[in-house]
Every structure is written in C-alpha cells, then in structure tokens.
C-alpha cells in the first residue's frame, strides 16, 4: 500500500525518542582505590583572636518547616563560628606541602546534609575524586548549587532535590579551596566544599582538628577559613609522635 509509509514514520518517532532517552541514561562512574597509609598525625586547635563578628539571625518564616526546626535556637549566619573557648569551627587544615603519599583513601563516604534549611556540615572537606552524598532531610525541595571557579577543572552544577528523593552522589575531580555552595530556593543557605589532594582535618566547635595517618616528615599546613582566608605553618611529624599546631585568626 502506497500510503503505509508515512504512518510507519509516525510510529518510528516515539521509538527514536525512547532510544534517545535510554542513551542519555548511560552514566559512567569512577571508583577511588588507593593503598592505606600509616603513621602519625597532626592535632591542633584553631582560635579566633578578638571579638567575633555579629552573626545575623536568619528569618526562615517563608519556609515554615525549617522555621519550626529553629524555633528555640534561631538560625544565624555561619561565616565565623566561635566556640566557648574562642575555638574557631569550620576551619579546614590540610597539608599543602610535603605530602608524598599519593592518593588519599577516604575512610567513609562523607555526607553533605540539608537540614533546617542549613548545610550540615557547613564546611565539607573532601579529597579529590572522593564520592560524597548530598542528602535532604527537610520537608521542602532544595537546590544544590556549588560554584567552583569558572573555567577551572571543576564544573559548576545545579541540581534540585525534592523531599524524599535519593541522595545525590557527587565528586570533585580537582583540588579547589574552596567551592561555595548555595541553594537557589533558599537564598540564605550557604556552605563550602574544600577539595584537597592530601590528608586534612576540619575544626570542630571547640576549634580542634586532627589529621591522621601521616608518615614522618616535614609538612606545611594550610588552614582555610571562609571569612579570614588562609594561614600556613610548618610542622614536623616524627615516627609515633604526633605533631601539634595552633592557628590563630585575627578578628577584623
């Protein structure tokens, strides 16, 4: 029949569509494997000298489910988080010189959680090619938008995560200190990814940090804080004897 051909052509379109979609779904994934290093480490503390800047409270009334979480402890900005003893939290201390141990093995898959319309942790340290999970514990959609330097090896991405959807598996292919992360839906949400090639530690509420599994040697440590920038310090790690380091940032 001479008229059958156009009809078949119509049928072909959805088939082509389906095939096209299937092709789009082929996702390649890399895995990280390296030999476990051993040895000592560096412990230390990060302090803030001076009066910490005022952290403005965040009014989340437009997102009631988040506002409810912060009912008793109002959420504030987290540019400078200072603990009781002047310890400075959310500082990433990493080895900027002297590391010769090759690729670092991640101990467990880090999680970058969104809870109460804030990022937990506020600063996430990861090593290059380390897979980390982005999860959403809120009752609202979030939008994760890390903004690496344009033109660099790390590419900006921007994905939404409705409540209840599976974690996003992400990875940074190159070193970068630091990548600002924002949520497009909630403008106040702000966090950082610090991507390093070497062992690192992130300071806790008291300002103390710990870098483990360092072979003996001379190292240069760099501490990065989102408001105050970086400081460096040289340390020597002897066999079986962890080194200590103290960083002090000056409040402006």
């Amino acid at each position: 029949m001479r008229r059958q051909i156009p009809f078949k052509a119509i049928l072909f379109l959805p088939v082509a569509l389906v095939v096209g979609i299937a092709l789009m779904l082929v996702v390649s994934q890399k895995s990280v494997k390296a030999a476990p290093p051993s040895g000592g480490g560096v412990t230390g503390i990060v302090k803030l000298d001076g009066t910490p800047p005022h952290q403005k409270p965040i009014d989340m009334s437009k997102e009631p489910s988040c506002a409810a979480i912060h009912k008793d402890h109002p959420a504030t900005t987290e540019n400078v988080v200072v603990g009781s003893d002047g310890g400075l939290a959310n500082v990433v201390v990493y080895i900027s010189e002297g590391w010769s141990g090759g690729d670092v093995t991640p101990s467990s898959q880090p999680v970058f959680d969104q809870k109460g319309c804030q990022y937990q942790p506020h600063v996430l340290g990861v090593v290059v090619n380390e897979h980390f999970k982005v999860t959403n514990s809120d009752q609202t959609s979030h939008n994760i938008h890390p903004m690496p330097k344009p033109g660099g090896p790390n590419h900006e991405w921007n994905k939404s995560q409705p409540p209840g959807s599976p974690p996003i598996d992400a990875v940074w292919p190159a070193e970068e200190v630091a990548i600002h992360v924002k949520c497009n839906i909630h403008p106040w949400m702000s966090g950082y990814h610090v991507v390093v090639k070497t062992p690192y530690g992130v300071s806790d509420d008291k300002g103390s940090f710990k870098i483990e599994n360092l072979p003996p040697g001379n190292y240069t440590l760099t501490a990065w804080q989102e408001t105050y920038g970086t400081q460096t310090q040289k340390v020597t790690v002897a066999a079986g004897k962890p080194a200590t380091a103290t960083f002090t940032f000056k409040a402006k």
Binding site: M1, R3, Q4, I5, P6, F7, A9, I10, L13, G20, I21, A22, M24, L25, V27, S141, N143, H145, M147, E156, N158, K159, S160, Q161, P162, P163, G164, S165, P166, I168, K182, N184, I185
Partner: protein, 595 residues
C-alpha cells in the same frame, strides 16, 4: 520565452520519485498532511507533558514511576523537581501554542484546502512552501532536542521574560542551552510561517480561478487569509526579538538585561538593557498569535457549521469584516498583558479600551452563528457537534475576557489560574474543537475514507464534558488567588485549593485518555475506514468538486473549475438537492446576504 509567458499554475509536474512525492514534496496537499502529522505528534507530546504536570499538581510528593527515565536530574527518585515542572510547563505551552494551535488549523488545513477552495492548482511558490514545512519541522526538532541537553529545556514559560531568559545558567537550571534551543526553534518557526504566509496571501490574491471573486471565497479561506496577514506582521516581529535574545544569551550583549543584577552574590557583567522592551516585542507578537490560533478555527467552524445547518450565515460579509476587525484590533490590545508590569499606568487605560472593544466583533461573530442557527435545518454529526462545541467553548472563554481587559480587575486576577482558565478555553480548547471539526469534516477528502462516526461521538462527549470539568474550576480558584506557574502550593491561603487540583487532575487524566479514542479513530479510519464518496456532506465549496478523492496532484485534473455562485448556496432548489455547488452552472434562486 516571451514577456507574458508567466503563468500562475503548473509550476511543477506530477511527482515522480518517492522522496518527491512524500518527503520533499512540492504539492501543497502533501505539505498540508505533513503539517497535520507534525501537529499530531506535537499534540501527543503536549498532552503527555500536561499529564505529568497535572499528576504533580494534584499529588506533589507523588513518585511517578519511570519519570527518572525522562530526566534523571529533573526527577531524582521519580520525584519531580521544581525546575522540571516548569520545564514541562514551558514545553507544553510552546509545543501547544506554536506547533499545534498554529500548525494544525492554519498551516495544515490551510495548506491543504486554501488552494483547492479558491480553485488553484497549487501555491505560487511551492519551493517556499516545502521549505516552510521543513524549517518548521527543524524548529520542532530543535525544541525537542532541548530535552536531551545538560540542564534540560528552558523553564521560562512560553513568554520567556527577560532577564530570566537572557542571563543564562546563572539564573538556575533550565536557563542554559535550553533557552538558546527554544529561541532557535521559535526563530525557525517564524521563518517557516513567514514563508507560509507569503504563499497563503499570494494564493488568495493571485491564484483564484475564474469567477472566484474575493467575496465568493469560503469563510475558511477568508480566515486563513486574515490569519496569514496577521502572521506576516506578528512573526516578523518575534523573529528579530528571538535573535536579540540569543545574542544576549550567547554573545554577552545587553538588549534586555539591565545593569546591577546580582545572582548568587555575583554582579552580572550586563548593563543598561530594557526588560520591558522584550515584553513589548513579545506581546506585539503574542497577542496577534492568539488570534492566529483562533481565527482559522472560526473559519473552519463557520464552514462546517454552514454545511450542517444547510443555510449560509446571515451575512457572509459581516462575518468577514468581523474577523478582519479582530485582526486589526489584535495589534492594539497587546498591552493588556502588561497592566501590572511597570508600564506607564496611562497606557494601561489606553490598552484597556481596545481590549474591551475587541469583544464587539467577537460578539458579532457569535451572534451570527447563533442567529444563523435559528430556523436552520441542522444536521448533527461529529463535525457539527465539534463546531457547536467550539461556539460553547468560545462563549465560555470569551466572557472571562471582560475581566482581564480591565486593569483594575487585573490587580486581582493577573497571573492567576483565572488567566490560565481563560486562555485554555478560548484559544486552547476552542481551537482544538475547531481542529477536530475540521478533521472530521475534511478527513474524507484528505484520505479518501470516512472517520468512524460512533467513536467520533463518544470522543466528542467525553472531550466536551471533560474540558469543562477541567477548565471551569481554574476560573474559581483563580478568583480566590491561586497563582499560576507554581509547582506546589506553599502559601497558607492556597492550601484550600489542593483538593480542587486533585479533582482537576483526575478530570484531566480522563479527558486526556479520551483523546486516545480520537487517535485510534484517526489511525484506524486512515487505513480501514469506509471509502468516502466525493461529496459526503453535500457541501458546495470547490474542494468537494475535485475529480477524485483525494484530489489528484493538480487538484482539478485538466479542467480548471469556473465559479458561478456565492460559496454557500444551501436551502435552494438545486438539481442535486438542497444545495448548489459553486462551480455548478445551473441557474438557481440564490440565497442573498441579509446585511
């Protein structure tokens, strides 16, 4: 070769090869069918997208099985993300407005029947006509391909307001490559329709057969002619606007992007552009565009209805003048889309009056249909049911225009579901009813087979009741302040609308499913339908006087028709019954215009 050797017909001989016959055909009938096929594919995609959107609006946290197959970023864990909803919405609107409501009633039926109805052998520029379709097709491909680029199609709505659409990825997912593809697609579409309009206008002016005076052209021809004049002016404005948008997006110019925009805490490099400029350019096209979608429907419905009523309209001329008035006024009213957009408030009033006045020709058109129905001998079939349904829909959608024409009421209704209900009824569903009426009416001529009448009626009933069930509630919740283009209803006062949305979703799914009856009917009848006689509806216009059904490649064989009568000579005492065909030389007592 001689000075006067120019000839209006026979620009091409019968097609020889398969490709020339079915793919790169110069035959206006094949091109019309290609447009019909394009619109058919597009409408299926559009309905599918609306299903996904409706499911999400009814049950926001519902995981739609398999959705992640369409877009892994847009639907992680089968849950629709906010941007994916808006992307689906934008694509639904763009596909429906451009590739369905413009292509089907105007480009598809117009291409097929305009030359036949004026007694021409073909369009005067068949190569342009072929290009017109294939450029439009490329535009459709460009639009669909945006589903497969990095961050998916654009989410900016079919209006693509700058600067959201012009600043690129910075504005969020769905504002990257998708916008460029959208703008390319619309630019191509404009070029395609400009070429089409060129052919339509020239055919109507120059290619009429002997005796086919302007006033003897059927109303469908008049509607297509008026539409193509509108298209020529409207698409010629949208095209450069889209190109400027692409430049802003890609080349860093600042036509539409003002200074000092801060996104993600970063100052954008643009400066000095005017965001209202885009709105003016867009709506100067955008408002005539809705008439481009509906006027062919009016022509088709008049044509079908007159045949079913067995009498001409009370006045052929008044109908033509009213459609012409709609076209002229449509350029003066576009500002009513921008009442609260920061335009000078004086111009709001200036735009309000023509908008209100445009209801007068629209009312005259409706009254002409109603008045002509009086005392007619109405034959009920699927085509006439859809034509009557069109009138009902057009009335329902039209009265809400009184509200939206007034800037003071627009304060309450701008950007609400009231607007969504209004345009879905008046230009969406009504135009679709026009397409359905045209399909049932002309299918026998296009494919040589009758469509199944029983299935047609079942489809009509489900669609008629279903569309009212979907779109009437839109008006109610719009009145109460439900904002459109929301993927979920977070404001406290909108919680009360969620049950209504659930109801609408169920209605929309059922009505959408009812369209499968039409799909089945179309495909089944295409191959296995009853063979059609040459003039199944006992109609008078020239398309029913072709020597074969479907018509031969040159429409009328070796003998061009000569026209002796006004187009709709029904209710007369002719030798064949109560009608006399336009090209029948017999003497009759003619029906006269009553204006």
């Amino acid at each position: 070769m001689h000075d006067t050797s120019s000839h209006a017909v026979a620009h091409h001989g019968p097609p020889a090869s398969f490709i020339r016959k079915h793919i790169f055909s110069l035959d206006h009938k094949v091109i019309g069918k290609q447009y019909f096929g394009l619109a058919f594919v597009a409408v299926l995609v559009g309905i599918f997208l609306s299903w996904l959107m409706r499911l999400h609006l009814g049950w926001t946290n519902l995981a739609i099985p398999g959705l992640h197959l369409l877009s892994s970023n847009g639907a992680p864990g089968n849950l629709m993300t906010p941007e994916y909803y808006l992307q689906l919405m934008t694509m639904h609107a763009t596909i429906m407005v451009f590739f369905v409501l413009t292509t089907a009633p105007f480009a598809a039926f117009g291409n097929y029947f305009l030359p036949i109805q004026v007694g021409a052998e073909d369009m005067p520029f068949p190569r342009f006509n072929m290009m017109s379709f294939w450029i439009t097709f490329l535009g459709f491909i460009a639009l669909m391909s945006s589903f497969f680029v990095g961050d998916g199609p654009t989410l900016g709505g079919w209006t693509q307001y700058a600067p959201l659409s012009a600043i690129g990825q910075a504005a969020g997912p769905g504002e990257g490559t998708g916008v460029v593809l959208w703008a390319i697609s619309i630019t191509l579409f404009c070029i395609g329709q400009l070429l089409g309009s060129l052919n339509f206008i020239t055919t109507t002016l120059d290619m009429r057969t002997r005796g086919m005076s302007l006033m003897r052209m059927p109303l469908s021809v008049w509607a297509w002619f008026i539409t193509s004049v509108m298209g020529l002016t409207a698409f010629a404005v949208l095209m450069p606007a889209c190109i400027l948008l692409i430049l802003d997006h890609v080349a860093g110019t600042s036509f539409f992007v003002p200074s000092n925009l801060v996104i993600n805490d970063q100052l954008l490099p643009h400066s000095g552009g005017s965001t209202l400029l885009w709105q003016h350019l867009f709506w100067f096209f955008g408002h005539p565009e809705v008439y481009i979608a509906i006027v062919p429907g009016m022509g088709i419905v008049s044509h079908v209805l007159i045949t079913s009523m067995r009498r001409p309209l009370l006045s052929h001329r008044v109908m033509i003048y009213s459609m012409g008035a709609l076209a002229v006024l449509s350029y003066m009213v576009y500002g009513h889309h921008m009442f609260v957009s920061g335009m000078n408030p004086v111009s709001s009033i200036a735009f309000s009056f023509p908008t209100l006045i445009i209801t007068i020709p629209a009312t005259i058109i409706v009254l002409l249909w109603l008045g002509s129905l009086y005392g007619s001998r109405l034959r009920i079939n699927t085509a006439s049911l859809f034509a009557l349904g069109f009138i009902s829909m057009f009335i329902s959608g039209g009265v809400s225009g009184f509200f939206l024409a007034q800037p003071s009421i627009d304060i309450l209704l701008h950007g609400t579901y009231f607007v969504v209900g209004h345009f879905h009824m008046v230009m969406g569903v009504a135009a679709m009813f026009g397409i359905f009426a045209g399909t049932f009416f002309w299918f026998p001529k296009m494919f040589g087979r009758m469509m199944n009448e029983t299935l047609g009626r079942i489809h009509f009933w489900l669609t008629f009741v279903g569309t009212y069930t979907i779109f009437m509630p839109f008006h109610y919740i719009g009145l109460a302040g439900n904002i459109r283009r929301y993927q979920a209803f977070t404001p406290d006062y909108m919680q009360q609308f969620i049950p209504v949305h659930k109801f609408i979703t169920v209605a929309a799914l059922l009505t959408g499913a009812a369209q499968l009856i039409f799909v089945y009917n179309l495909i089944h009848s295409r191959f296995w339908g009853k063979p059609a006689p040459d003039n199944p509806w006992e109609a008078t216009s020239l398309e029913w006087s072709t020597p074969s059904t479907p018509p031969p490649w040159n429409n009328f064989g070796d003998k061009m028709p000569v026209v002796y009568h006004d187009p709709y000579q029904y209710g007369v005492e002719g030798s064949t019954g109560d009608y006399v065909m336009q090209n029948s030389p017999e003497r009759i007592e003619t029906v006269r215009d009553e204006a």
